[in-house]
Each structure stands twice: as structure tokens, then as C-alpha cells.
């Protein structure tokens, strides 16, 4: 296996793929979004809800490749019970990382295990896989009327 592919399939990713965290749809989601990658059929549904302290709760269900499923798992673990500020930082940092063409310095504070996806950005066809749950999250958020002040998507 080449270094690039080793970097793509970090241990953390394989681990989340085999042992997904937080899988399962959220009860009483206030917003839910189903996203599909039309090229390969990868699917993910993400649901969100805010609690009384304005902390986010996330659930997901999906099927697809290691990258898309691990990404959903990592994202859910990272953002469960997170403040909206943290959500904004994470969304922004993840999009930035995906558009970095392998040259990004992942922001570990914002991304946690998500930094493991740095290697994905070298493979254009896989970026969509990694982004799939994040796109669903953003869409679910908007459907739930959960707006975030900070811009979350870089202009890339």
C-alpha cells in the first residue's frame, strides 16, 4: 500500500468504520436530511435537535464506503452535545481541510478525530464521501432553523 493510501485510511478511520459511534437516527429530530452521492450510491441521513442549553444533538444512519461512514461516525461523536460555536468551527474546519488538496494543517481543536481525514483531500473522488454527512448536517440544521452566525463554508 502506498503512503498516500495509508494516509487516506488512517487507523482512526478504519476504527470508526468498523465500530461506528452514535449510529442510529435521533428521536424527535427537529431537522433531518437525507443525502446521497449519485456516483456511488453512498447514503446518509442526519438528524439534529437543540436542547434547552442550545447544545446540539445528532443522530445518523447510512450505508456506503469506509470514508463516508467513518466520517459520519466521527462527526456525530464530535458534535454530540456541542455548542453552536463549536459546530460552526468544526463545519468550517472540515470543509477547509477537504479543499486543501493534501496540504492542509488540520485544526485538531475544531476537528478532533476529524483530522484523520486530511489524507482524503488528495483524492477528489473521495472528498464527496467524506463531506456527505457534513452536508447532511448543515442541511438538517437549516431545516431545523438552527442558524449559525459565523460563515461555515469557506469560499473554496
Amino acid at each position: 500500500m502506498s503512503d498516500n493510501v495509508e494516509a487516506l485510511y488512517q487507523e482512526i478511520i478504519l476504527d470508526h468504520y468498523k465500530h461506528p459511534r452514535g449510529a442510529g437516527l435521533l428521536d424527535h429530530a427537529s431537522g433531518e436530511s437525507f443525502q446521497v452521492n449519485p456516483t456511488c450510491g453512498d447514503e446518509v441521513t442526519v438528524g439534529v435537535r437543540l436542547d434547552d442549553d442550545d447544545h446540539l444533538h445528532v443522530g445518523y444512519e447510512g450505508q456506503g464506503c469506509s470514508i463516508s461512514q467513518a466520517s459520519a461516525s466521527v462527526m456525530t461523536e464530535l458534535l454530540e452535545d456541542a455548542t453552536l460555536d463549536r459546530v460552526a468551527d468544526a463545519e468550517r474546519a472540515f470543509h477547509e481541510l477537504m479543499h486543501s488538496k493534501g496540504a492542509g494543517q488540520p485544526n485538531e481543536d475544531a476537528l478532533g478525530d476529524g483530522i484523520a481525514f486530511a489524507g482524503v483531500s488528495k483524492y477528489p473522488a473521495r472528498i464527496k464521501c467524506a463531506l456527505l454527512p457534513w452536508v447532511a448536517l448543515q442541511d438538517a440544521r437549516l431545516r431545523a432553523g438552527i442558524e449559525i452566525d459565523k460563515p461555515t463554508t469557506p469560499d473554496a
Binding site: S2, L14, C40, C65, R126
Partner: protein, 426 residues
Amino acid sequence: MMSTALDVSRLRKDFPILERTVRGGRALVYLDSAATSQKPYAVLDAERAYYETSNAAVHRGAHQLAEEATDAYESARAAIAGFVGARAEDIVFTKNATESLNLAAYAFSNATAKAAQGGVVDPRLVLTPESSVVVTEMEHHANLIPWQELCAKTGAQLRWIGLTEDGRLDMDQLSVIDDTTAAVSIVHQSNILGTINPVRSIMDRAREVGALGIVDACQSIPHMRVNVEDLGADLLTWSGHKMLGPTGIGLLWGRSDVLNSLPPFLTGGSMIETVTMEGSTFAPAPQRFEAGVPMVAQAVGLEAAVRYLDGVGIEAIEQHEHELTAHALATLTQMPGVRVIGPESTVDRGSAISFVVDGLHPHDVGQVLDDRGVAVRVGHHCAWPTCRRYGVPATTRLSTYLYNDLDDIDAAAAGVRAAQEFFGVV
């Protein structure tokens, strides 16, 4: 290992791209020809020579370049027609097979709409909510969605012939073709399953009930001898880029009387007879269906492609690919955790082979293969309903052409094993 029908190592020298390496120095093993084929020098040279010596708008000018360009374009039509046993005037150039299939489907919606406004059209093309259109469950999206759209525009009913467990058409369902059926459009060779369908008997059935018979020959014409008359179809569609030709050119063949009974599709310059602001009349086929400045250089390139294929011999290519297919099927079906989606025998079967690997998503299989220089395709291959039918979200597909050898199959198989090991699923 070498196949016996072709001298592959000699042929490979004609394809410049096969000399390149990928992913940091790996030799390229190209097993994605069902998506698009690579191009020999002969094709690239012919296109370039056209631009460097004769480029002009065809069918329109009175100067020497225009004469030469027109001649190049029409000679290409004749050569391509010859390749499939057709008459030149029954061959229409389109941009790809997708456009050809849309042309067929739009013939019905256009005729239906014109009839509703009192226009004079061929009544066989006029649909009502009582009409039906028949496809199969193994169609490429290009031969499914145009018909879905036609039904959405006319109220007609879309029906399909289902599949058997082993990747064949369920011929017991042929009765979906009945008196209400206006069109039957089916794939000759499936791009996802590899199955070669008994199109002749289905076309005969279409004819019996008075329906137009259409065959999507995208995956057959590049790989086996196809004579347009033999299939019993009214219309036949395929693409140039899958048979060593340039991108941007597709083909439609039609029985002369059928072609000339279809209303125009794309309209504009070069397809007319007379034009006034109040109304226009149209040229006969093929001009009627070639509005605008056409893909002349691409036609010239495709002519070079069919000449190249003729030089190698399409029968030899077919036999060669048959050997590759037999080897691939034998190898894959013996690998633990690997399941072929589609016929496991080489009977009535082409070289596109889809498979799934237990515990591994096709995307991940493809990634590991790619890392080793082996280019395959992963996904639903624009035949999503077929994937659903077999309960898989996607497959890994290898597909061959004249420039592949048995070693290429072995490289793919070794890659699959490596993926299984890497992901710890064996």
C-alpha cells in the same frame, strides 16, 4: 500470460496512454473500457490531420476546404456504416449514445404534442395514457430515464422485463409487451452485468405488436460483430468513445422508413428544406437529425477507429475478450468473499464483470486497486435499478478491450486480495 487471439504487446504500442504510469510509478492497468476506451495514434492523427488541412463547415460552403470537409464527413459516415453493415444514409451522427436514445424517445413526445395541436404525424408515435413503453431492469440510465420522461409527458405507462438471479432477462415476462406497447427499448449487452440479451426475439415480439424496437448497442458494437439487420431492431444506438473513437460523437442507425417517419428532434441549420418565418419543412434523414455544425473532426477520428478495428479484426477481438472473460470469471468466482453480480458463465456474456466483496465497499476496493495502478470502475455504473435488484449499493467492475491481457486480470485479482487483507476481511 498471453492470450492467443491477439498480439496484445504489439497492439499496446499503438496506444500512447498505456505507456504512462500512475500513482507514483505504477504501470497503468486500464480495466475501465466499458466506461470509455483509450485511443490509438491512428485516431489522434486522423483528427489532427483534418484540422490541419481541411477544416471547414460542412454541407454549406462552395470553397475547396468546405468540399474537402464535407467529403471527409460523409466518407466517415460511409465507413462507419460499413462497419455495422448499414447504408450510409441510415446513419445519424449525434454527440453520444445518450443523445441517440433521447432522439428516439422525443420522437414520441414531439409527435404526441404536435398531434394534439392538429399536426400531421405518424400515428404510431402518438401516445396516450393507455399506451405503454417497455424497457428492462438492466438498462443503463441512458435507456431508462428518457422513457420515464416520455411517460411523464404523455401519461403512458413504463413497464419492464425483470431479471433472474443469475443476471439474465426473465423471458417469462415478455408478455409485458402487448397491444398497448408503442416502444420496446432494450440493451444488447449490459454494461453492469455483462449479459448479452436475446434481442432478436424481443424485437420480433415488438414487431408483432406494432411497437417500435430500439436497441442500445453501446457495449456490443465495440466488442463483437454486429450487423444492424440481424438484430431485428428499428433503431440502434451507440457511442464512438467506447470503440476507440474520440469523445463527443454518438451514432443512431435506423431503418430508412422508420428514420424518415420520425419528426425532427434538434432543429436549426442544415436540417431544413425551406424556411420562412411562418414555418419550415425538413430534409430527409440523416440531415434531418443533424442540426447545426456537426462534430466533423470526431467523425473523421471515428472513421480511423473503425478502420483500426477492422485491421485488427473484430472477430479476433471478440475471441480475445472471451478468453479474458473466462479467465476473470474463473479467478473471481474462486476467491473467498467475492461474488460476481451477473452471469458466472461465459455463454452470451461480454467482458464487463461486476462483483462485490464481503465486508468491503466497492469504493474501498477501487481505491486499493487504483493505488496499485489498476483502473476499474466502482459505483452503480449508471444502472442503479440493477444494483437494487441484486441488493447491492454498488459494485466493482472490470472491463476489457483489445489492449488488455490475462496479466491485467491477475493484477486486478491480486489487488482485490490486497484490499481484503488491508481491511482485514479475510
